[in-house]
């Protein structure tokens, strides 16, 4: 039976090995922070919009090179371009096609009569024939001007204004053959480059970042006060990869080294080291395989979090060897059988706790939960199925383990004395005050682990360029393209007054580039009437018979627009058909003050098919909601665990239970005392603590007075502590908070558990 299990497990391991080879060949690792964010099950179109807007940037690296004056800025830009050009293997300049503009003008020319700005529409509606005629004459007789087209195509000179309004969607302007903008005390040149490296690989080195940094130092030496601001997905991806690989090796190898050292100290034999190593290796491999099979892409943060598994999965191996030490090889089977109930119970509580992390609808969190649960189970199975067969030969008790096993008798034990009651009361006050000072925080930023300088650059760039916000926008929905465009127009009418009041800088809407057919008809009629009057006035004044040009017979349709050269500016906002309905996104620029968001939200009210989307608020709300839900889950979990323990240990169950409760409370109190915020991830750490902290109590109750159980608990505690302690070094605030909660909780539980052990006389059955 035991052998059959061992062979079965070997087959599973073999399959996992095969999968691992193929996995690492074409590693599908995800660095995108968005992938960690919760899916919105009720509104897949909101997700589609968010992802579309995020994908837009893709491989682009956008740089602003600035200096005190325009001449210096141009010099600095040349220096940057030269430096970037030297990294031709990773970066190439994004092609600025000068003919694109001519193509767009030619494309739109037949539709010129139906492209009007809101103010032109107003003016044409109320202008008198005299005013129209006068304007046409003035523009006709003006000494020189940059017309886009012949006079008879645009007798009132309306078209340049329309283009001007489109150009106002960004603050960059062509100047001396470059893209220029002015702001924050500097003149800037805009440069756009593209990363040539498509898929990133761990340990590939941050080559794009290095090239940008070279350009930065070149700019700073080229001109005094020179400055380079850069942003782009490739930079984030590289930073994330570099950080993740550093963290994975620190946490993974750090805890591995500690585990192996502890095993060596305790058993002074190579066999335990090898076998514990094998159980850890298989745990990690199985974890990765299961995760990769269940999810399309494995996220980097999963691997970072997963490296803490090393410190947890070794528990079962420790327990086996601690119990087996000093016993004859023939007793291996009975030893394992006597350990099995406690180990299984411990595994179940831990796995349940890990899986409870996946209750929150955060895909990243679910990956971490699956990864850890699978890894833990695999390590457990390896110990149970393989260790008795592989662990042949003697394993004498070492002096270290003997001394340590005996130390349990000297550990303080809580009894009903005055001193202990006073200590308890003092502790209760400290905990109460700490809990009172605890401040919750559900800020989205806890998920963002990018280096602060990257974030600062991104913000500055967005501010200078007036880029639209990717997190707050209006989602427009309709039965048809026409309805979507018409609804956009209705929304814009309500937004225009807010733009005038400078609540925000402006918007970008598809309907500005492609008005609805109804709008096109209306505007074409309006301009036809006004321009006929203007042409008549010019004819009367000049004594000639000029005629207004003819325009396209049919309206500009979405399909024709999307196939045309002008669509690239706006394509990512046109979501097209999702399900049975059409969607588009209306983006907002210059949204710097969170206080105005409620006013924007109010705009959508009463407008059919318009939804205000605030991803930041939505996710923060979700983080808060799940922080409370998980908090409730912890309370319920402790009651469930107490009932489970009572079923096995009866009236002594509290001895395994209370240390974890106290550890949780002390951890929370410490967070309160040091002013660390209570986040969803802190609470998740406590959930896991519930599952693992109870294990120690279970083992001590399961094997009362047995020094080897204490030895195993101590070893397990130290290594778990170390791996989660190392997680507290992570650059991702969420993981750091998680690690810190685990670290503090583990330490207190580890110290407290033996204090609540059974009195010695009861211990000997």
């Amino acid at each position: 039976m035991a052998n059959r299990l061992a062979i079965l497990w070997a087959l599973v391991v073999l399959a996992v090995g095969v999968h691992q080879v193929s996995f690492w060949r074409g590693a599908h690792l995800d660095t995108d922070v968005l992938a960690l964010l919760p899916e919105d099950e009720q509104a897949p179109e909101v997700d589609a919009a968010t992802r579309r807007l995020a994908d837009e940037a893709g491989r682009q690296v956008v740089l602003l090179v600035g200096a005190k004056d325009w001449t210096a800025a141009q010099q600095a830009a040349d220096a940057a371009t030269q430096a970037l050009g030297q990294s031709g293997d990773v970066l190439e300049p994004a092609v600025v096609d000068t003919s694109a503009l001519d193509q767009a003008v030619d494309f739109y020319r037949p539709y010129r009569d139906r492209l009007l700005t809101p103010s032109q529409r107003q003016w044409l509606t109320r202008a008198t024939p005299d005013e129209l005629g006068g304007t046409a004459l003035m523009k006709l007789y003006q000494p020189a001007g940059a017309q886009l087209t012949d006079w008879n195509v645009d007798p009132l000179g309306l078209w340049p204004d329309w283009w001007q309004a489109r150009a106002a969607e960004t603050s960059a302007r062509p100047r001396d053959g470059r893209l220029w903008l002015s702001g924050e005390g500097r003149e800037w040149v805009l440069l756009t480059w593209k990363s040539k490296v498509s898929a990133f690989a761990l340990g590939d080195g941050a080559r794009v970042t290095a090239a940008v940094e070279r350009a930065r130092s070149r700019v700073e030496t080229a001109v005094p006060g020179g400055r380079l601001v850069a942003a782009g997905v490739p930079l984030y991806a590289e930073a994330a990869a570099a950080q993740a690989s550093w963290e994975m090796s620190t946490i993974g190898f750090g805890s591995l080294a500690a585990v192996l050292l502890l095993v060596w100290l305790t058993f002074r034999s190579l066999r335990p080291i090898l076998l514990v190593g094998v159980s850890l290796l298989l745990g990690c491999a199985v974890a990765l395989t299961v995760t990769a099979l269940l999810f399309d892409r494995v996220h980097l943060l999963t691997l970072v979090f997963g490296s803490s598994l090393v410190g947890v999965a070794e528990d079962y191996g420790f327990h086996y060897f601690a119990a087996r030490q000093g016993k004859a090889p023939s007793e291996r089977g009975p030893v394992m059988r006597s350990l099995l109930p406690g180990m299984a119970l411990a595994l179940i509580t831990s796995v349940v706790a890990y899986l409870a992390l996946g209750v929150a609808p955060f895909p990243g969190l679910r990956q971490m939960a699956v990864f850890s649960a699978a890894g833990l189970t695999a390590a457990f199975l390896t110990v149970v199925c393989w260790f008795p067969s592989l662990d042949r030969g003697a394993l004498p008790v070492t002096a270290f383990s003997e001394r340590f096993s005996a130390s349990i008798t000297r550990w303080p034990r809580v009894t009903s004395t005055r001193g202990w009651w006073l200590t308890g009361a003092g502790l209760a006050v400290l905990v109460a005050v700490g809990l009172f000072r605890l401040k919750p925080q559900d800020d989205l930023r806890q998920l963002q682990g990018a280096p602060p300088n990257l974030i600062a650059d991104q913000r500055e760039l967005g501010r200078l360029l007036g880029l639209p916000s990717p997190a707050q926008f209006f989602l427009v929905e309709g039965d048809s393209d026409e309805q979507v465009l018409a609804r956009e127009a209705a929304l814009k009418q309500r937004l225009d007054p807010l733009v005038t009041q400078k609540v925000f800088a402006g918007y970008r809407a598809v309907s500005d580039w492609l008005p609805s057919e109804a709008q096109q008809r209306e505007d074409a009629a309006l301009s036809a009437r006004a321009e006929a009057q203007a042409v008549a006035a010019v004819a009367a004044s000049t004594g000639e018979a000029p005629t207004r040009a003819a325009f396209a017979q049919t309206p500009l349709t979405p399909s024709r627009f999307l196939a045309g050269p002008a669509a690239s500016a706006i394509r990512q906002q046109w979501l097209g058909t999702l399900g049975a309905r059409q969607y588009s996104v209306l983006m907002l620029r210059g949204l710097n003050d969170p206080k105005v968001l409620p006013r924007l939200e109010a705009v959508a009210q009463g407008l059919e098919g318009i939804r205000w989307v605030d991803k930041t608020a939505e996710i923060s709300g979700l983080l808060g909601r799940y922080r409370r839900i998980m908090g409730g889950l912890i309370a319920a979990g402790y009651i469930a665990v107490l009932l489970t323990l009572m079923a096995r240990f009866g009236r002594q169950a509290w001895r395994a239970w209370l240390p974890s409760v106290l550890g949780t409370l002390l951890t929370l109190a410490l967070f309160g005392w040091v002013g660390a915020p209570l986040q969803l991830f802190t609470v998740l750490g406590l959930v896991l603590l519930l599952g693992m902290g109870v294990d120690y109590g279970i083992f001590l109750l399961e094997h009362p007075g047995d020094g080897s159980a204490w030895l195993a608990v101590a070893l397990a505690g130290v290594s778990t502590l170390l791996s989660f302690g190392l997680l507290a070094l992570s650059a991702t605030p969420a993981l750091r908070s998680f690690g810190l909660a685990m670290l503090l909780g583990e330490v207190t539980i580890w110290i407290l558990t033996p204090c609540f052990r059974l009195p010695t006389r009861k211990a000997t059955p």
Binding site: L132, G133, P143, T149, R173
Partner: protein, 202 residues
């Protein structure tokens, strides 16, 4: 971020042939902070059989701007400053105003017009290939060809003639329209009156 400003593509190019010609022409031009005079403009526009002729007077104040007052065939004023371009027609109430501080393309267009009227060859040289010759003891002739694609989109050639002042400017647009502007009765006085100063101060 797309290069959408059409109007905007009229600039750039930094060719600096410090030719002797330029130096000689500059030496022949009067260095005046203010020039007043009359103009006659003949504009040939597609769709019109005869040239469109307009007449009026102008004032060029260095570092301030240009006032361009058309008297016939109808009265209108054009004010060009470093900051804006505005036009008004007396009778019909037609008017428009463009702010050039935020649009370098418009600012560049203004700068070009200044330079043409003032005969500021040094500025023109930054954007055009300058060819030409001295004429007689006091005159000169220049032919300007845009050196960059943006400006070439608008102008094929600009020809200028003059002596102490610019006497004639001939603008040939790429699309076929063209204008000839003749200047006359040029003087350096009187200084701007209150109305003129007010318009220039805008």
């Amino acid at each position: 971020m797309k290069p959408l400003v059409l109007v905007a593509c009229l600039l750039m190019g930094l060719s600096a042939h410090a030719a002797d010609l330029v130096k000689d022409v500059r030496a022949r031009l009067v260095d005046a902070p203010l020039v007043r005079g009359k103009f006659e403009q003949k504009k040939t526009v597609a769709g019109f059989k005869k040239p469109l002729v307009s007449k009026g007077d102008f004032l060029l104040a260095r570092d301030q701007g240009v006032l361009w007052n058309t008297r016939t065939p109808f009265a209108s004023t054009l004010t060009l400053t470093r900051k804006s371009l505005s036009a008004e027609q007396g009778a019909g109430g037609a008017a428009y105003h463009l702010d050039s501080t935020k649009e370098p393309a418009l600012a560049a267009m203004n700068e070009l017009l200044f330079a043409l009227l003032a005969g500021d060859v040094a500025t023109l040289q930054q954007r055009f290939k300058v060819e030409g010759a001295l004429v007689g003891p006091t005159g000169w002739k220049l032919e300007l060809t845009p050196t960059d694609a943006g400006l070439a989109r608008v102008f094929k050639h600009i020809r200028m003639e003059g002596d102490g002042y610019v006497r004639q400017v001939h603008l040939e647009e790429t699309r076929g329209d063209s204008s000839v502007i003749l200047f006359d009765a040029l003087a350096q006085t009187p200084p701007p009156d209150a109305t003129e100063a007010g318009r220039l101060g805008k």
